[in-house]
Symmetry: D3
Subunit: 161 residues, 6 copies
């Protein structure tokens, strides 16, 4: 069987920012790394996490964070893809986007439609079902959170393919 490919598309919680600091967890502690270990050699896992990334909003203060603008060339660069995991929405909560919960869901829907034009399946992560955020800053995952997410995504993928 040929290698399968999954793209992990997200923000600082996919990048693996260490809560309370700018540093990054090592590759094998970040949830895409946990996922890669769990999936084994049959899968190639691509990390695409950028701190501050929104679903579809241009951020006038932090440029280059619009998740829609970047997604299509990113998909085309990494195709053929078997799965795209989208884990975004937290940064949309910033006051300057004035986004309602429905707007954020709408933004994720826009990304999902773009992804489905290139990849056959999309998995959207809604974090609250999975883990509680770290106490350090209230919205970043700690090492245990990454492990939980990586394993949960791995189980879901095992059930999907």
């Amino acid at each position: 069987m040929s290698e399968r490919v999954v793209l992990c598309y997200g923000d600082s919680n996919t990048y693996g920012s260490i809560p309370g600091g700018g540093d990054r967890f090592p590759r094998d502690m970040r949830w895409p790394g946990v996922l890669a270990a769990q999936l084994g050699d049959d899968w190639h896992v691509i990390e695409e996490g950028l701190g501050g990334r929104t679903t579809v909003f241009d951020d006038p203060i932090l440029p280059d964070r619009n998740g829609r603008t970047y997604l299509r060339p990113c998909l085309l660069s990494h195709q053929p893809l078997d799965l795209v995991v989208i884990f975004l929405g937290t940064n949309d909560l910033k006051a300057r986007f004035a986004a309602s919960a429905a707007d954020i869901a709408g933004g994720v829907a826009v990304l999902t439609e773009i992804a489905l034009a290139v990849a056959p399946k999309v998995l959207v992560l809604g974090l609250p079902e999975l883990v509680s955020y770290t106490d350090v800053d209230g919205f970043h995952l700690d090492a245990a959170g990454h492990r939980t997410i990586g394993e949960a995504v791995g189980q879901r993928i095992a059930a999907m393919f």
Copy 2:
């Protein structure tokens, strides 16, 4: 020693398009794959090749191909980086960009400056020194070309680090 990271930023010749068709060479035959094999476990090699990508030009016919627009979020998503390899310019030759050789060099210089704001080193590939293109379509690498490039870049990296 901790893992080192290199980003391979290019067009269809980094994506690994098979000459004469839309398909993609397997991961280990594409030059970033050849490079990864040569560098071994000390290095993590990130592929970022997109067919039609230019240095700095918006393509009105093929959207999402401007190499400048995409580069900065791509660097930020994959940092910390030890090296960026830039292998672009061929698509700038399309008549609709009206680009002179100096313009293409200028475009690569723009990308180099952006990359050096995030990564400590940049390696720019000028292909003609390395390989001749395939006969099939005159501008795509065949498997031998990928091997030559991957090995040459590997040797250069060995000398740089």
Copy 3:
């Protein structure tokens, strides 16, 4: 006397969305159609209603809805024009635009200025003076509302020309 031309520029209430569904009222039930029937053969009525259209805001979730971007080429395509009727503002109320009543009025003023650079007269519809919205969804016109608007605009035009 040569034919006169009026452009009806609006959102879903000019498009004629049927409340509670995506379908469209037939041409003669939409207010521009009611207007055309009332004005008779001396006038040519052009419909330009797009669901979700704002006055001047880019909608990151629903693209192509900025009423300002589209207005100038639309005017130039249909000139010479005797009148532009602008019936916009409802979609500006979405939370993500964070627009005050003064902002919406400002958006309409921007459109009016653009229209007056091409057409000699502009008529701005402020709906609440004319009809109450349907009960189905609270912001779409029903068939009676379209009839009321079309006839009211027709009477106003008769008084203007």
Copy 4:
């Protein structure tokens, strides 16, 4: 049978510019008008011709002429559509676009793909097969040219539906 709708999307030759001057032929002499007369009451014909419109190029000297930017909101505003007729490409020949014949064909292909996402059929007009341009300025249709185009499109539509 309910009314069918065709959108005529083009440049000055769809607008109906009189060769050698800025004026516009009357509605019934422009090719969409000729077409409407020929198709009769079963069809509604929408004119969308703008002088200087390109297929996909932004014109830095003449703003608002990019045929791609305008097409999608135009389609959405006039849907449901049975047919889109695209008659563009002449303005792409301006030197500042540096467009090859293949580029212009590529631009038309982009528009066709956008149109087919909304309408079931697209008819692309390649003028040279149909008429010779007027002697006055070499690239505008005279009244006879409009009649020829309108009738030819009408016959093609009769064969398509």
Copy 5:
């Protein structure tokens, strides 16, 4: 000693709008003029104040007011510069930007970083420390306010150079 150059970059309070009207205070009454008089012939003072200018926000109602877009070409046009004084933020308070105090500070930080890439020093004015606004409209400086600002900036510059 060669002439030193300071760029005063701001909004209507640098432009010198007279409170309650659209007119402009004369050059020597505006704070950059007061500053020029105080600094004397050793300095060249450049005024760059535009009513409605924001730090980094595009204003959909009032175009051309984004302070970030304009800043870099403005700096390059007036270099070499010894100092940039940034006096912006008031217009960011408009409801349609939905900007928090932290966002406005973030916007000023973006401008400061851009300025420091061209000029060696930046001075950011936070108005409330200096003057109370006029009673006429609550956010425009009167003549006394301009004098206070100009003199305070002059003293700060004297201490910096």
Copy 6:
């Protein structure tokens, strides 16, 4: 009589680049400075010259050089203006803009129209009538060229006002 104001809007030849190097002539040797000396205290002369500035073209290699984007906020910042002198076009000759002589004239016409919406008079400089360029690089003015331009513009202004 109150002070009159003239804005000098141009490229490196208004900035005063010294031929063969990146440095800038001193203020009194640049043509706007020559002009200021000639016009005396009745006039305030504003310099706005940026190397690489085009009339209306975005330069993908050298950002922030589009003369149209910058002009309107620049005019609004410096109004009320009695005159705008436009001295642009040389950079449009770069191959990547593919601009014909008519295109460059068209670009200047676009700028003139923008300027006339704010200022009552515009003076367009066509350099070849005035001076020959320096031998050093073939397109930059030397000190004598600046003097010739400044004096010629001064005489023209004397005749206009």
